[in-house]
Amino acid sequence: MTAPASAPGAVDAYTAAQAVQDASVGHGARSFRLWRGADGSGAFTDYTTEVNEGMVVLDAVQQIQAEQANDLAVRWNCKAGKCGSCSAEINGKPKLMCMTRLDDLPADEPVTVEPMRAFPHVRDLVTDVSWNFRVKPRIQPFTPRAPDAPDGTWRIDQRDVERVQEFRKCIECFLCQDVCHVLRDHHLHDEFIGPRFLVYAAALEMHPLDVADRRSELKEDFGIGYCNITKCCTKVCPEHITITDNAIIPLKERVVDRHFDPLGALVRLVRGPRKP
């Protein structure tokens, strides 16, 4: 396209103004650095694609996949932050790709997207999270007390059950597992179940109907002592579950009750066990 001869520079001014407007609403080309490779090896590959207002990282990745890299492996499903499939590390932070808006990321530098680092790499942005599904059955399942009424039903105070409702919000995106340095850096998957499953254990252990005692398992088999309360899991949770303060620390305190509090044990010996 050539500029009209009668108004030299007018198109440039228009283009510049348009560019400013586009930039203000998030239009224009954005650079991306996507991890490409398989089975743990690979490297960043640079892509540039047009983005529009309101696009999220997953939109851009899918656009790159459609237009430039048909063989790019990326896992996604609901695009609404509820299935937990599109977990990745965006600009170094564990996030859901579908819930990370591009206009929340610095526009003057490429957006980096990597697979989660706490799990085995499969290909490109996809990791094998199946270890998590093998952990869950190890936790003692929900064990309700005897029914409260002759018809086999229970009575629960709504306020009692509210405490564990928070934990039910978990979408199993495993971002908390990814950011936890015990799994991510120290690879203690055989000894530590990670924040996701400590939340799951807390939901069972604190349930007003549940009577199972998981404290010794938490200490011996699930490695709750490995958690050193960095609160990274809480910071990355897309459902804003207060993982550390409301789940892990209360479980640690219950483990202290059972294993590390001789004075409390003496009191219980004299007064009898506490009512749950």
């Binding site: 089975d39 743990g40 590390e89 600009n91 170094g92 932070k93 564990p94 530098e109 980096t112 990597e114 697979p115 680092r117 706490a118 799990f119 085995p120 790499h121 094998d128 270890w131 105070d157 306020r159 009692d160 950011v179 340095h181 015990v182 991510r184 850096d185 120290h186 690879h187 998957h189 055989d190 604190m206 349930h207 007003p208 549940d210 490695g223 002592g225 490995y226 958690c227 050193n228 309360i229 960095t230 609160k231 990274c232 910071k235 550390t244 303060d245 620390i249 209360p250 640690k252 305190e253 219950r254 483990v255 202290v256 009750d257 294993h259 590390f260 004075l263 506490r274 009512k275 749950p276």
Partner: protein, 263 residues
């Protein structure tokens, strides 16, 4: 890792793809906690300038032995070595803070880089966590809590005494000095910190799965939980203020600052 799976290469110390100033919070914590440790240690060994009129520095409270009107007993037992009275009592609040869940997460990052920041590479490959000695000792936190609660009553008593000024005849009259307010604020902030403790939250009701029909427990648990949500802010504010209270009393005792009487 189990099942012979392959993870991405482990990152080196400090290596990360994060673009933000992730190093700022641990650096800030390192500077503030180190400064506090250095100052508190220095102040504890001074054994001087810890009282001024009705004011007593919280680093020296309770003052167990000595000729001071603030002292509980006139003379120390003969078997006790002649050390600064602060050294007899400071291990308790220090232990409370050292084993505090919030501070643990903070100083593991700031002093031990374990990890230096979320999603940032670590310097060591081995890790024991709080499963084994020495850090399994952190589980004594609730015992330090018991002492910390007792200290709140003592510091509240000190703050109350800080409103009673002696005249030339020795008679005491109610008054308000800047120091009275400083000591009162110290108790308020320490109470906010101590009463929002995770262990206290557990002990007042957190250990229960059902609080139906226990209105006192439910209310107490709700109050402690409310304070617990701001535990970090209470922790830093109370840490700063307890040091400032000592500085205030010390500088007044040294004649550098003048304690203004408001009433």
């Amino acid at each position: 890792m189990a099942h012979g799976v392959v993870q991405l290469t482990r990152r080196r110390f400090g290596e990360t793809m994060r673009r933000d100033a992730w190093w700022l919070p641990p650096l800030g914590a390192f500077v503030v906690l180190s400064s506090f440790l250095v100052y508190a240690t220095w102040a504890a060994f001074q054994n001087a300038n810890y009282e001024y009129g009705p004011y007593l520095s919280p680093f020296y409270s309770p003052l167990l032995f000595g000729p001071s009107p603030h002292a509980w007993f006139r003379s120390a037992p003969a078997w006790l070595p002649a050390i600064s009275p602060a050294l007899l009592i400071l291990p308790f609040p220090a232990g409370f803070r050292f084993t505090c869940y919030y501070y643990r997460g903070t100083y593991y990052k700031a002093f031990w880089a374990d990890p230096p920041g979320c999603a940032v590479g670590e310097p060591r490959t081995t890790y024991r966590g709080e499963r084994k000695l020495p850090l399994v000792i952190q589980n004594v936190h609730r015992y330090f809590l018991y002492f910390a609660i007792a200290f709140l009553f003592i510091l509240a008593s000190d703050a109350w005494k800080g409103y009673w000024f002696a005249d030339a005849s020795g008679a005491k009259h109610f008054g308000i000095g800047i120091g009275s307010l400083v000591l009162t604020m110290n108790v308020v902030l320490l109470s906010g910190y101590t009463l929002g403790c995770h262990s206290l939250r557990h002990l007042v009701g957190g250990y229960l799965d059902r609080m139906a029909g226990r209105p006192v427990r439910r209310t107490t648990y709700a109050c402690v939980s409310c304070l617990n949500r701001g535990h970090m802010n209470w922790a830093w504010a109370s840490l700063f203020w307890v040091a400032f209270t000592d500085v205030y009393v010390r500088l007044c005792a040294m004649g550098i600052w003048h304690d203004w009487r408001l009433v």
